[in-house]
Each structure stands twice: as structure tokens, then as C-alpha cells.
Amino acid sequence: MAKHRSTAVRGREKRIGSGGLGKALPKCPTGIAGLDEITGGGLPLGRPTLVCGRAGCGKTLLAMEFLVRGARDFGDPGVYMSFEETEAELAANVASLGFDIPGLVRRKKLALDYVRVARNETEETGEYDLEGLFVRLGSAIDAIGAKRVVLDTIESLFASLPNDGILRAELRRLFSWLKNKGMTAVITGEQAHVDQLTRQGLEEFVSDCVIHLDHRVVNQVATRRLRIIKYRGTSHGTNEYPAMIDEGGLSILPITVLELSVRATRERVTSGVAPLDAMLGGGYWRGSSVLMTGTAGTGKTSFAVAFADSVCRRGGRCLYLSFEESPSQVARNMASIGFQLTRHIRSGRLLFNSVRPTSYGLESHLVNIHALVKRFRPETVIMDPITGLGGMGNTDEIKAMLTRIIDYFKNERITAVFTSLTDAGSSFERSEVGISTLMDTWIILQMVEAANERRRILSILKSRGMAHSHQTREFRFNSRGIHLLDFNGGPAPSGEASRRSERRS
């Protein structure tokens, strides 16, 4: 949505950034996953943007991706002026991301210039200016008709050239020169202390847009975050957004941008267990989130699989995120109660993704799930169990992550089933990560002991927008699936009686 709007604006106002006081600021798309969403279309067109953060936070990658994607996807040639790394180093660094720097340079889509100013090697003998830099940059811009410029990290000049006063004045001149040339520029700056954004206070010169990157370790898990500190003339998310660097480059997850405006459907999907559908008054709402809690061995996975199976049999696609069991393990176990998952996996309708929660950080899980959903386009996602993520961070972080996931699924109109393990003894109404409020339907599975028998019972604790049953039902598994029975709290119907009542339901 935002993207379309900005493109329209761009077409109307032409490229060169005209008056900054206009209502809708023209944007320059970065093509970086998620960044254009949180900025409402990209960086300010024809203006400089400061990208700051500590060493190793991904500034150079963001800057390089901005240029490469600009050249490749948006037809904007770009100039990369590096003050720290040589042309060869830059190309090698991003080659693993599939960015063909030498190729872009050959096709005149990209120009690299490594500016090396040896530290304190030069003697200052009077007034000077940075006209040499201007000339170099100008000739590189003209040579390829550049629209985008990166200066990474121009602050290094302060370490190499004497007289800070001249440098500051010259940088100010440089940024306004870039603006006059209509260049959308990314200027990187290194954060040395917590209480300042850049060593030399570049934020003072670059006032249109400031982006902060952060890379920190929480609970031994490294997490990257991105925050927009300032974006003049644009309303932007002020949160810290999780970010990740993977084989596709940088991605930012903007999903808390939930504009609670997702159109609710009146469409139902079967839960895969007919009596449960009846209890819900017709099945789950499409695009809703279902939480299934219960102690160990109550059959959470079975209910989830019953749902997955019914989706696949209808020809839909289901993504199964398993945090504890391997695909073959789930398939074997579920075959014993009549769900032939292998068939669905082979037909490509069921995609299993088994990964240990601890394999990587929460953000990475989030990014992975995004990538999987984008690629596979499922109508249903199952996360089994979300409690597996418990060791991955504190409750708030997990809740934040799940909120993002749920919001994302809702936006994509994906029906999602989450299973959650309740500790035996603890109150089941206190769902571990406090996410029950985010869920539309909450089904509780319990094990009760009655007349020397452990019996499984099911009840619907809540289900928004449906006249659901308040009954407690007993359920059993057999080789043909899940069966619901009436539960009267009395002694278990023994032998024949039990089988009869099973047949009835």
C-alpha cells in the first residue's frame, strides 16, 4: 500500500527532491525487506540519510544494499565512496549475498571509490577545503548518471585531516551540495558512546532522516535491531524493529505496524474434527488464531495435525513449524491415529519446518517464519509448541515476538494454530507467555483421573465471535482419528458402553 502511494507521488513530483514542505515527502525505495514498510516508502528522495550504530551493526551492508538494490531493482545508478574498505574488500564482503559488484561496475550501474587518507600524514600549511573530494564524487556521479550516493564512513576524515573546524564546515557544504544535485544519499556514522549517535555529531548536518542500527547480545543470543530516530515530514514507527542479516541481505521486521484494520471474514474453516466444529458453531474463523493448551500428553499435536490434515485434503497448503519433533517423528506418531502426513508432504501441500528453538535468536525465528510464509504462501500455519521458545528470552520478548507473528498471520489472512504446554500443577488459565488475549479461540485440553482411568477432556475457554459450546467433552484417539464423547464426570463407560458412545459421536 505504502509503496504504491509513494510511487505515485514520485511520478507526480518528478525525481529531483522538490520542496521539503510538501505534504507527502517523495520517497526513494531501498528495496530492503521491511525498511520501506516502516518508512512509508523508503528514504527521503534527494536528501541525505544518516545511518549510525556501533562497529559491526550492519551499516555498510545497509548502505551497500541500498545501492545494489537501487541499481538492480529500481534502475538508479549509485556511487559508493568508501573511506575504510577498498573496492575489492567491499565486493568480497557482499559477494556471499549474491551481489555482483564487479558486474554492476562493468555495466556502469555502480561506481566505487576508495578514499584513503593516511592518518595524520599530511601537513597542514594553511587554509584548505575538500574540493578534491567534491571533484571526485562529482565526476563519479556524472560518469554513470548516479541518483544514489553512499559515504561510508566519512567521519574517518576527522582522524586523517587536521582542523576539525574546516572539516565540519566542508561536510556541511558537502551535504547541501548533494542535496542540490538531487542525490538520495546514505551517510554512515559510527557510534562511540551510548550518549551520542556519531563520533563527530553528523546528525547535526543530516537532519532529514536518521536511522540507528544496534547489535546486542541478550541472554547469550545476538539480536539486531533497527530504529528510525528521526524522519522529517513523515510519520514513522518509533519502535525498535528486529533485523536480521541472512543470505538474502538485511531484513527488518515491521510487523507491529498492525493497523487493526484487517477485514474479518465470515468464512469458516473446519478444525478437522467434526464434533469440535459443531462445538464452535461451524469451525474456526478463517484468518483467526487458535491457541491450544494442555499438559503433556493431552493431544495438542493431534488436534493441530487433524487441522493440518483437513486443510491439505481440501487442497490447501499448510506450514507446520515444529519446535520439538522432527517431521518423520510427527508423521510416524500421527499415522497411528490415522493421519497420513507423508502423503501431504510428498504432494507439496504440507511443509514441515523442524528447528530447535535454541538454534538461533527470536528475531531469526521471526525472520525465518516470514521467509517461509512468503515463499510457501500457506493458508494455515501451525506452531507446535510455542512454549518451546520459552528458553529464548524473557517473557516480554517472547510475547512481543508472538504478537508480531500473530499480527503478520492476521494480515496475511492465515489461520494459525498454536499449541502451548501447560506445566502440570500450574493453573491452565495462566498461559505461559500471556498471549491468550491475542488469540481468538482458546481450547483447553486436560487429563483427568476418574474411576481408575485417565481421561482426556476438552473445553473451549473462549472463542471470539461465535456462539460456542460451554460443554466439556471427553475425547479419545483411535486409528481413525480423534473422537469426541459426552463427558459426564461419572465413571468411565467401560468396555462395550465406551465403544458404543464412541461410535455415536
Partner: protein
């Protein structure tokens, strides 16, 4: 570049032959005074031993890459080796002489900013 070719022959006369390259961008007042100041210093200290080549980057911007020019005016001493770079309008004669190794650096290797040795 050309001047560095007859290297073997040049080595012996290192201390007597000065090959200087002055980078400017257009004949700005600063560029003009830089050239004047430089000529005056050379006439006084290096009479008959020097050669100044003026490179105008506005005419050929690519030349800024070879000598890694950022600040202007920049003077590059190609010969005698080692290569030295000084920047500014050369109004501070002492600093120019120090930068060109015509005068030993006062005290430590690095001059104190603003500390004039005269």
C-alpha cells in the same frame, strides 16, 4: 608518473632534484595564492632544483584518484622519495618547510598544532 621512470638514475640525485605536483580545482583565489606562496618558498630554498606541475582537477577529475586527493590545494612531493603530501595555501612557511622535510620537525615527529617554530 613519468618522472618516476628513470628510477635508477634518479636515486643518486635524490637530494638535489625536486619534483612537485600541485593539485587545484580551478584558479580560485586560494589556488592562486597557494601557487604564489609555493613558488616563493621554492625560489628561496630550492632555487634551480625544483619543478612544479600544476594539475587542475576541474579539467581532469580522474587524476585525483592516483594521488588520493581529498583536500585542496594539495602538494605532492614525488621526488625526492619518500612521497610527502602537504595541504593548505602554504601561507605558513614553517609548516611547508617541515612538510617538505627541508627543516627538521620540532621536538617529536608530530608538530604541535598551532605551535610555530619560528
Amino acid at each position: 608518473m613519468k618522472s618516476t621512470k628513470p628510477r635508477a638514475a634518479g636515486r643518486k640525485r635524490v637530494s638535489r632534484e625536486w619534483d612537485l605536483r600541485l593539485y587545484i580545482a580551478g584558479l580560485t583565489p586560494r589556488a592562486v595564492s597557494a601557487l604564489e606562496n609555493l613558488k616563493a618558498i621554492c625560489e628561496e630554498h630550492l632555487k634551480g632544483l625544483y619543478h612544479i606541475e600544476v594539475i587542475d582537477l576541474l579539467k581532469n577529475p580522474r587524476l585525483a584518484l592516483g594521488d588520493q586527493i581529498v583536500a585542496l590545494p594539495t602538494l605532492v612531493r614525488k621526488l625526492p622519495v619518500p612521497v610527502r603530501k602537504i595541504i593548505g595555501d602554504f601561507s605558513n612557511t614553517e609548516r611547508v618547510l617541515v612538510g617538505l622535510d627541508l627543516r627538521p620537525r620540532a621536538g617529536l615527529a608530530r608538530p604541535v598544532p598551532g605551535g610555530k617554530a619560528s
